[in-house]
């Protein structure tokens, strides 16, 4: 294949993607940074250059600090719980029991729903008076109360989204339900790559299933685990739709997340420069976390 003018053909094949890539991926990264150095009120005629003033303001902003801490709280709840659940479900599927396809579809189904469907659905499930969760909790609470009144109080009603204490955990719970199936399939692909001979050898040596998992599967699964953890951290730091639709950041900023704050600054206050700076600070934080995870999980090899 030496006769073609390679560069000409390469240009032909690459042209559509290159144009898109430069316009919607590369230039936004640079342009976004430029915007963040300006006071960029979208309705004003000209943005004014302000240097790093936006960044200084973001780092001093109490609401940004709250948003960052609340987002970190969300990440700490969702990433470990979500990954543990995904891995457990994948281990279950990997046994190839009867009905595995059904289980797989059932666990994966929530991933297929749009965030607005998830939010509409869970708003009702979480409703204090009309929600299914409180209905069943009340039933269980009442049953336990009649059995052992000394230990259990009868009132098990939870104010899910309307109390500052439970709002973020509620968002985390629905997010785990929503996303567990995605990582599950990746863990399952990783488990399928563990050589059967190794597992059989361990079984012959008299390992219990748990020992086999710990000594053979877990070390071999490490790259998969690292990938899933990194992707879930990046994804969870960007939590937006759930809080935007369900709580709008409330009550009392308890579910204010960074991207939601960025969105409010950009599209409600029209402060594009400030909002871009918020985005870049979050990007820096996510980058640091990603590098830390790589360091922590790959050194032990």
């Amino acid at each position: 294949m030496k006769i073609w003018n390679r560069n000409k053909y390469a240009a032909l094949f690459l042209l559509p993607y290159t144009v898109l890539f430069l316009t919607f991926v590369v230039s936004p990264i640079i342009y976004g940074f430029v915007i963040s150095l300006h006071k960029w009120y979208i309705l004003a005629p000209h943005p004014t250059y302000v240097g790093i003033a936006n960044y200084a303001a973001v780092l001093k902003d109490d609401l940004f600090r709250i948003a960052f801490m609340r987002t970190a709280f969300f990440v700490i709840m969702v990433v470990p719980a979500g990954n543990a659940l995904s891995l457990l479900l994948a281990v279950g599927l990997n046994q190839d029991y009867k009905g595995t396809t059904f289980y797989k579809v059932a666990y994966y189904l929530p991933v297929l729903t749009s965030v607005s469907v998830v939010a509409i659905l869970w708003r009702w499930l979480y409703s204090t008076e009309f929600g299914l969760l409180n209905y069943y909790l009340t039933k269980i609470g009442f049953a336990l109360h009649t059995m052992a009144p000394a230990i259990f109080s009868g009132n098990w009603t939870v104010n899910w989204l309307s109390s500052t204490k439970t709002a973020m955990p509620s968002i985390a719970l629905l997010s785990v339900w929503w996303g567990a199936g995605g990582n599950m399939l990746i863990y399952l692909a990783g488990l399928k790559n563990v050589p059967k001979e190794l597992l059989e050898a361990a079984e012959i040596d008299g390992c219990t299933p748990f020992q086999r998992f710990w000594a053979v599967t877990w070390p071999l699964l490490k790259p998969t685990t690292l990938f899933c953890l990194v992707m879930s951290v990046i994804g969870s730091f960007q939590v937006f739709g759930q809080t935007y639709i369900l709580t709008g950041g409330g009550p009392y900023y308890s579910t204010l997340t960074v991207i939601l704050y960025m969105f409010q600054q950009g599209f409600s206050q029209y402060q594009m420069g400030y909002a871009s700076a918020v985005g870049y600070v979050l990007f820096a934080a996510v980058l640091v976390f990603t590098i830390l995870q790589f360091k922590m999980l790959s050194v032990k090899k």
Binding site: A10, L14, V26, P28, Y97, L112, W177, I259
Partner: protein, 282 residues
């Protein structure tokens, strides 16, 4: 010979099956509740004891949803979602496969550097560039247009990455034979590579379609015309009006979800294979 420690396995087996079934019930029940509610009469939606199976089954919520078109153009939203997701899917297949072909088969200066750039940008959180992309699209005059909804979604690196990896696994000998018969790069791409890459293309198509269908943040900011909203945004607006009329809001949610569930059930195998295909082995 006959006794191969069957007994402990069967006990474990039974427990595992029970746990997995319980997990399946928990994972399915919110979606099942949504669909069940959409088929209920209004009087049974908020019954004192939750009714998991609608009795009687009725489609009145669905007819109500689509006939309130003056207030909420639900049908238009459905059509918009279909049009946008299908366009994005078809265009991604074309754009990503041709770029992947160049990255895997044609030799040119700076090829690997360019590819590394594409891969590197995949790590950047997409929401962070929301504002600059919005401003760029606005400058192109694409605010409130199908272009604005469709074109920025074509630039992601995932498809290029997935297809390049797959193309690399196709043996070069096949192309050499076609080359001997006088085929050029375009012919080889069209007649050899694309047909052989069908499984990867199918996986990419379904991922792209689901992602586009469910997308929320981007269509939320790039449109504000009621007639250009996609379903996920539309049903959120819809829900704002009918906050406690659960029958009709669950129907709207079901209309948004059912096409994807059906597509998933048809292509279930492809999706699972596709994820294995991305080759995350470290």
């Amino acid at each position: 010979m006959g006794k191969q420690k069957r007994k402990p396995i069967s006990v474990r087996h039974a427990i595992a099956q029970i746990v997995m079934t319980l997990a399946a019930i928990i994972m399915l029940s919110p979606t099942a509740w949504m669909i069940s509610t959409s088929l209920k009469q209004e009087s049974t939606v908020l019954s004192a004891v939750p009714q998991w199976l609608p009795d009687p089954v009725t489609f009145e919520n669905y007819t109500k949803l689509f006939t309130q078109a003056q207030d909420f153009p639900v049908f238009r939203w459905l059509a918009n979602s279909m049009f946008v997701s299908m366009s994005v899917t078809l265009l991604v297949l074309f754009v990503a496969s041709s770029a992947a072909y160049a990255f895997s088969r044609l030799e040119f200066k700076g090829r690997d550097t360019m590819f590394m750039c594409v891969v590197a940008t995949m790590i950047i959180p997409s929401q962070i560039t929301l504002i600059p992309v919005f401003l760029i699209v606005q400058k192109l005059g694409w605010f409130n247009s199908y272009y604005g909804l469709i074109v920025p979604g074509l630039a992601g690196g995932f498809g290029v990455f997935l297809l390049r990896q797959f193309f690399l696994s196709i043996p070069v000998e096949l192309e050499e034979a076609a080359f001997m018969d006088g085929a050029g790069p375009i012919g080889i791409y069209w007649r050899i590579i694309l047909p052989l890459a069908k499984p990867a293309l199918a996986a990419l198509a379904i991922f792209t379609f689901i992602g586009s269908w469910n997308d929320f943040a981007w269509p939320l900011i790039i449109t504000n015309d009621m007639n250009l909203r996609t379903l996920p945004i539309g049903i959120m607006i819809f829900q704002g009006r009918y906050t406690t009329e659960y029958g009709i809001t669950m129907t709207a949610a079901a209309v948004c979800t059912l096409p994807i569930i059906i597509a998933f059930l048809i292509f279930q195998k492809r999706i699972t294979e596709g994820i294995a295909m991305t080759g995350i082995k470290g």
